[in-house]
Amino acid sequence: MTSEPYTPVIVGFLCNWCSYRAADLAGTARLTYAPTMRPIRVMCTARVEPQFVIKALREGADGVLIAGCHPGECHYVEGNIKALRRYTLLKQMLRQFGIEEERVQIVWAAASESKVLADAVDQMTLTLQALGPLRWRQTVLNGHGAEQAVRESADVRRAALAAQEVEGER
């Protein structure tokens, strides 16, 4: 299902205390990684509302990366655990919308773990390249197309009749 090679766009929510600093450190250490992640700083992963994630996907991102402190190391004690709970439920729901699991990821990167963060971006970029673009606006904008609905109902009928023929020959 891989289409033409494309450069994915990832929206990255980085917590101010660990992962944003990890990202800063990745730069300071001149770690090279894919320029696909567009960062948004939040004070804590607990500030990442599920609707931010959904909004990013809807507005054209191919994936969303949430990055925070390791559980137990949150600067706000357990904000990241709240984030993990929301993320877990959100993913279960996104699956119902046909959005592949890999498109929304959470990663724990402490302030010193610049490599972890850089690797996560690279890895996610590869994964998204394999999955192909998401183009959610296209899904929404084209979904109700009239022509298409007409074509489809014809398709359904054709398929059903073909199936019956096969049945009949037996």
Binding site: R95, Q148, R157, L161
Partner: protein, 352 residues
């Protein structure tokens, strides 16, 4: 708005239109449920279009001058080309267009079919349905040639939309259906010429606070270990249902209904839709609910933490259908992912 303008028929009463698009008809009944007050409505308005109650043809409406209808209550979602055409037509003819009820406001139950595609819907209705015998695989066709000529029926769209996604509306009256006292309050205000809020998809006939505000059940700090479906437990009376593990949507749902469901021990399903300042009802619900699921604490092993949280969230069955029961068509995602041909793509292990 002023309601003293002259109408084409010239009897001086403001003109009222009521239309039923993709919906169950409950909204029409809700209007009748205002009881005796219906006479006052008849008294105050001249009804110029109400296919459910009186014999009007679309052609009649087409012949009205533009903006000649003073108030149009439009219920139902936009599901077919007919719905869409009527939305445009009534928009053109009406001064004030009101999205009446949840279907028109946010897609409501018809909107849930955005979790599938038109072809899958047809397949379910006309082919795979156990009570259907359809050997010729006859499906609704938009164009059919008969000896007399070509017949046309409306196109069944792939995606359900709300009214305001098709045409601009002045006001929205939420609810599935809107509660009769609220309907009357709005109509009364219009009849008496009371000032209405500024138009622009503005919600009227409802509260600006969540259902919890009207709900008499006792509320505490919330910590939830797991969730139950309504048949699994008998809720303790007098106690917040959400705290008892029932997925009550009241926290994220606009009030105005008087919290009728929770009062009698039924969880709120969210029919009054989202609150002002909220972009996505389901996403807000996820955030709120997941926050108070009392699983995991700092210092837990990371893998174990993820596993346990996963298990707790698994007790929420069909999150999309639960959190977007009424709001699907108005949500940020709007529908399930489709391929270039509009087909629903592989959806993993979707269970409902």
């Amino acid at each position: 708005m002023t309601n003293k303008e002259t109408s084409p028929a010239g009897n001086g009463k403001p003109k009222l239109a009521i239309y039923w698009a993709a919906s169950c008809g409950g909204c029409e009944i809700a209007i009748l449920n205002i009881g005796d007050k219906i006479l006052a409505v008849d008294e105050a308005f001249e009804i110029v279009f109400w296919p459910c109650a009186a014999d009007f043809k679309y052609e009649d409406v087409r012949n009205y001058p533009d903006h000649s209808i003073d108030l149009c209550l439009f219920n139902g979602a936009i599901r077919s080309s007919e719905n869409e055409e009527m939305a445009h037509l009534l928009r053109q003819k009406s001064k004030v267009l009101v999205a009446f009820g949840s279907c028109a406001q946010e897609g409501c139950i018809p909107g849930l079919s955005n979790l599938t595609s038109a072809s899958d819907t047809f397949r379910a209705i006309y082919m795979d349905n156990p009570s259907i015998d359809n050997p010729a695989a006859t499906l609704p066709q938009t164009v059919t040639t008969v000896p007399e000529g070509e017949l046309h029926i409306p196109v069944f769209y792939n995606t359900v939309r709300s009214l305001d996604q098709v045409v601009p509306v002045e006001y929205v009256i939420p609810g599935c259906p809107p509660e009769p006292p609220q309907i009357w309050a709005v109509l009364e205000a219009i009849v008496t010429g009371a000032p209405l809020p500024a138009p622009g998809s503005t919600v009227i006939g409802a509260s600006h606070l969540a259902v919890c505000h009207e709900c008499p059940l006792e509320k505490h700090e919330k910590t939830i270990e797991r969730f139950y479906r309504p048949y699994e437990i008998t809720p303790e009376p007098g106690l917040c249902l959400l705290e008892q593990g029932l997925m009550c949507m009241g926290i994220a749902t606009r009030g105005g209904c008087g919290a009728l469901c929770p009062r009698v021990g039924m969880r709120c399903e969210g029919c009054y839709g989202l609150l002002d300042g909220v972009e996505d009802q389901g996403a807000n619900m996820i955030s709120a609910i997941a926050s108070v699921v009392n699983v995991g604490k700092p210092g837990d092993d990371e893998a174990e933490l993820e596993r346990r949280i996963g298990v707790a969230m698994d007790s929420i069955v069909d999150p999309a259908g639960t959190f977007y029961r009424f709001n699907m068509a108005h949500s940020l995602l709007h529908r399930v992912k489709t391929g270039n041909n509009g087909d629903v793509q592989n959806r993993g292990s979707e269970t409902a």
